[in-house]
Symmetry: C2
Subunit: 657 residues, 2 copies
């Protein structure tokens, strides 16, 4: 596929973040989340549900190497979910990223120890999944649909690559290369192999990452096979279910095999369907394979699927997965705010997908979604102290409903310590600790900046090594200052700066002089010879705006959201009292936009005088329509991501116009 725009994100070890907004998040991940999660993986958190994750690995290692003794009784059995292995994989990945930007010998030693235990559990043929090592290897590969073997495999691939890139240590990488060979020996197009693919996708993008290191064609071939075989008739999952007498939970559901995105070949899937996390993980893998193999038809499907999500199924926070039933996409323009699933992992997966689409082309439709998820629907999943988590990220909560309304039984009104199914917390840790590799992308003659935060990046273009240092108070303020350093001399290339979709006006200065470069696909592109001390200042207008939803959407009719820059705001009971449903934005005369450092770890608060519906003169439930009587009411909005950090209470993002 000829595409001169194809670029790659600058790797993590070439970008150093020093940002008022993100550095505290990263530090919380490093100092609180990663240590806490290691304790959790080892069942040492009082009051939290045990993970059993490391215990399973120790037991599997003891079974594999009887000379080992980790002290786990042999008859304990596998505990926790069938995908429990993936938790430590995600933790190793997150910890490895943090080692890149904050070397920490003690943490590295802990990771080394975990890797030793994990590798001790590996079988002679490379197999490495504790559920089957403990429960009986004769059963392995008999339920690819539901038993998450290839999901855990994928997460371990990601961990192995991250650990190798962070430390140079090959132990886990080599183990995973052997595990990949093992899987390759059992699954594939050849006669005698299973013509299967993962029930929960991730291995596709993970294999692409492995290929990036190994350049071994077998690795990208396996990823491609997983994608191309998916949904083909006769359906592997159907055959497997019959052959092995497996359950099929979605038999009576309208989703059927589309729960797994496996009801039809991927090139015939034009709307995001089924389990949302699986969906965006698959689409991310498809984008990787399309880019690495030059498969244009696959790229086109990715474009269609991305557009379907971004223009028909995505919440304004970047949350996806409208339905608790199946934790799934539902249908176009169905965006309920209170019964939403909106899993943190799904928003993270959407960021993965957006990042991969950006590697095809710098288009702000992708970067806008990437930014939207990061600043809203992902970090809403973690408390500001870094110790509690949301799976589900509602846009409207009403405590009495959370207690009494079964449609919202999945919605928590306060973040929880840890979950038995602990996918989200380590997933947040791995994306935030690898944030450096989401900022700039590079191809042979261009550098693009997709996200704005304080950072220093190092890159080589046209044979020259350059540095780009960015200083900004974004997203609280719209000014971004960037300065190049070119120690080996000036370099001629195109620098593209993203103009965010939310931005209605901006000024751009090059070395103090206003310029108006061409804007291509939402990127202001400046083609010139860049030399040391070249300085770009871009100032995005950041007014308070009210945003409304397409007329196709039923749930937000008559309502608008308050936004400023990339941040979506919300009203909380703590600031605005009860019955948020009675508040109206009205037509405010002015806005107070004030950064309050002592509020919610420092947020810019938006206040203005809106309206509130007055009580009726009687307590009737219905009456003949009258002109509504609205009284002035000061409204105070906080960024959505920071909600639910001050105890339980009502919250709403959409407010009556």
């Amino acid at each position: 596929m000829k595409n001169t725009l194809i670029s790659e994100f600058l790797p993590l070890n070439t970008v150093s973040i020093n940002d008022r907004f993100w550095s505290p998040f990263m530090e919380r991940i490093r100092t609180k989340v990663i240590p806490y999660q290691w304790e959790a993986l080892n069942d040492r958190i009082p009051g939290a549900e045990p993970s059993y994750c490391m215990r399973n690995f120790k037991l599997a290692a003891e079974l594999t190497h009887p000379e080992l003794n980790y002290g786990v009784p042999k008859d304990t059995g596998h505990a926790g979910f069938v995908f429990q292995d993936s938790d430590v994989a995600k933790w190793i990945e997150a910890a490895s990223y943090s080692l890149v930007w904050h070397p920490d010998p003690k943490l590295e030693q802990t990771v080394d120890g975990a890797v030793d235990i994990i590798c001790n559990a590996q079988q002679d043929d490379g197999y490495l999944d504790t559920f089957y090592i403990i429960n009986g290897m004769n059963k392995r590969f008999t339920n690819l649909k539901d038993n998450h073997e290839l999901y855990c495999f994928g997460h371990f691939l990601e961990a192995a690559v991250a650990y190798y890139e962070a430390t140079g240590k090959r132990k886990l990488l080599d183990a995973l290369i052997r595990y990949t060979e093992c899987i390759d020996n059992h699954i594939g197009p050849e006669d005698g192999k299973l013509h299967g693919y993962p029930g929960h996708e991730i291995a596709e993008m993970a294999l692409a990452r492995l290929y990036h290191i190994t350049k071994d064609e077998k690795h990208i071939k396996l990823a491609t096979y997983f994608i191309n075989e998916r949904g083909k008739s006769p359906l592997y999952f159907e055959e497997e279910t019959k052959r092995n007498g497996n359950d099929f939970y979605w038999k009576d559901s309208y989703m059927q095999y589309q729960y797994y995105q496996a009801g039809k070949p991927v090139r015939e899937q034009f709307a995001a369907e089924g389990h949302a996390v699986r969906g965006v993980y698959l689409y991310s893998g498809m984008a990787d394979v399309a880019r690495l193999t030059g498969d244009r038809t696959l790229l086109e499907v990715c474009e269609v699927l991305f557009a379907n999500i971004a223009t028909k199924q995505m919440y304004i926070t970047g949350a996806i997965g409208q339905s608790a039933y199946g934790e799934a996409f539902s249908y176009d323009y169905n965006l309920p705010n209170d019964t939403i699933y909106g899993e943190t992992c799904a928003a993270i997966g959407l960021a993965f997908f957006a990042r991969r689409m950006l590697e095809f082309a710098p288009r702000n439709i992708y970067a806008d979604v990437l930014e939207k998820t990061l600043y809203n629907g992902i970090i809403s999943g973690i408390s500001l102290d870094g110790t509690a988590y949301f799976y589900v990220n509602p846009l409207e909560v009403f405590p009495e409903a959370a207690a009494k309304d079964n449609r919202m039984r999945h919605v928590k009104i306060e973040r929880q310590k840890w979950f038995g199914c602990a996918c989200c917390p380590p997933n947040i840790a791995r994306i935030i600790s690898s944030l450096g590799t989401y900022i700039h992308s590079l191809n042979t003659d261009s550098l693009y900046t997709h996200l704005y935060m304080g950072n220093e990046a190092q890159f080589t273009i046209g044979g020259k090594e350059l540095f780009l240092k960015t200083e900004t108070l974004y997203p609280w303020e719209g000014r971004v200052d960037s300065t190049f350093t070119a120690p080996s001399g000036a370099a001629f290339f195109t620098y593209g700066l993203r103009i965010p979709g939310w931005c209605q006006g901006y000024t751009l200065e090059l070395n103090g002089e206003k310029i108006t470069p061409e804007v291509q696909n939402g990127y202001a592109v400046i083609k010139r010879e860049w030399k040391s001390r070249d300085r770009i200042t871009i100032i995005f207008d950041m007014p308070v705006v009210f945003v409304e939803t397409s007329p196709h959407v039923r749930e937000t009719r008559g309502k608008a959201a308050v936004m400023r820059g990339p941040l979506v705001y919300c009203l909380e009971e703590a600031d605005n009292g009860k019955e948020l449903c009675r508040l109206h934005l009205g037509t405010p005369k002015g806005y107070s936009v004030l950064h309050e450092q002592d509020v919610l770890e420092g947020v810019t608060v938006i206040s203005f005088v809106g309206k509130r519906e007055k009580d009726w003169t009687n307590n009737a439930l219905y009456r003949i329509m009258e002109t509504s009587v609205l009284e002035d009411k000061p409204l105070r909005f906080i960024p959505y991501y920071a909600w639910a950090n001050r105890g339980p209470g009502e919250m709403t993002l959409w407010v009556n116009k």
Copy 2:
């Protein structure tokens, strides 16, 4: 309790209905529903789920009297729900009512045959429940909480009284008096008896009805015991569950024993909670017992519960039970329109409750609810051809949601033939076929008219026999003409005519002259000597009105309903196209109100030029708020009760203002 207002509804055999609106419903019940249901009860409807109801009775009769042979194999076992017996009870009740206003020897013979089979199943000690007769009598009375023995008992009491009143035949009544004795021998305050009460209420009001015939104090005492014992500590259901190792399905629910309205004594229940049908059946029984025993504290609780429902938990159609979870009430001001349960039986039960409150006092708060349920949320449960039924009565449907949205898995977009759990169809039959006894109530010196329909009523007041003939096209037209006949001479009494709560203006004429009598609690009261040919004409203004919901309600914000008279209207896709969510009422310049005899068996259609939101210029999902562009759009409203009679499609009752 001194209450000179206490009245009783005129019995069914003294009121003859001849009404353009209701007579066709009654005829459909008589000619289609009752025969169809008899076939259904005997498993003779091709394509419908079998009922097994009569088969269970035949089997129980064969087991009781081995000389009988109905041809049911002995080893068949009980089939269908544990409460399957109640279906034939409801059918006998409905059929008996229809025999009152339309004698039919063939139907009476069929009922007699059913009664014979049922009575043949009765045990020597009076017990009569096929589930335990077939499955083992040693288990009876071991799960009052869930096994519906006392529920079936209650329905049979109602059937027995109705059958006796219709035919004078005592066979079933005597059987039920014996069954009542059997229950009295096992349940009650005495040592050695179970201190229990029904898990699904109805026996309370049924015993009150039995008492009305027998005047046997034991009968009202048992009803009173059921009510007073309910929810007392130690909790009978809890003890029973432990003692017999029963399941407790609601253990982890916030409802706990309040699912059964048994979590606390009834006099401490101030909001309607739990299973909605059970709730209103209990409250109806409480009202009966309060009236018959003069228990003022019980009456006060009934008043509080009625107000809670009518002013905080009732849909504008009279539907109740907001939540599919537990088919239950939820909490104040929670009125979702698409995920509603709104069971037909619950609206029927609310009509029972309202009717009983009216017997305490003619207050239009009660009569308004009675009328609202009858004209909207009850008859929406049956198709216009009388052959298909809704359990669930949504106020908004969107076919794609019904297919894909699990929150609405209970919602059907087309009425169904018959249900495995067939409570609603025969319940509709019994209320519509007994409609005559919901119109007028009488006490020693007053007659009150609560509902307006064409009918002729006979009553005795002050020793004089009178007739009151009413002619009207209500609810299509607001004029009601009533004429007295007093063959035994004039009588002095108060006549109260209900002024409906929806009515904003009316004129009243007595013998052609306008009068303005006093209005007490919503009733225009005329105290005089009434003689033959005295003629009252009341003309209610019946404009098209828009009705809105209290600011406490989240779901209908910014919307209004179209009403005319007691009827709530709705928009259907068949008339208005797709995406009803985009339509607005606007500020119409005028309304067309046209009775169309060939539409939906004859309905008054309301049409006017409203508005429709135009498409956005791009296909974005979100945009910075602009002034909405609305275009003119003719809107056509049909009465809500008649929806879903023209194939599947969108429907909404609440429309954007």
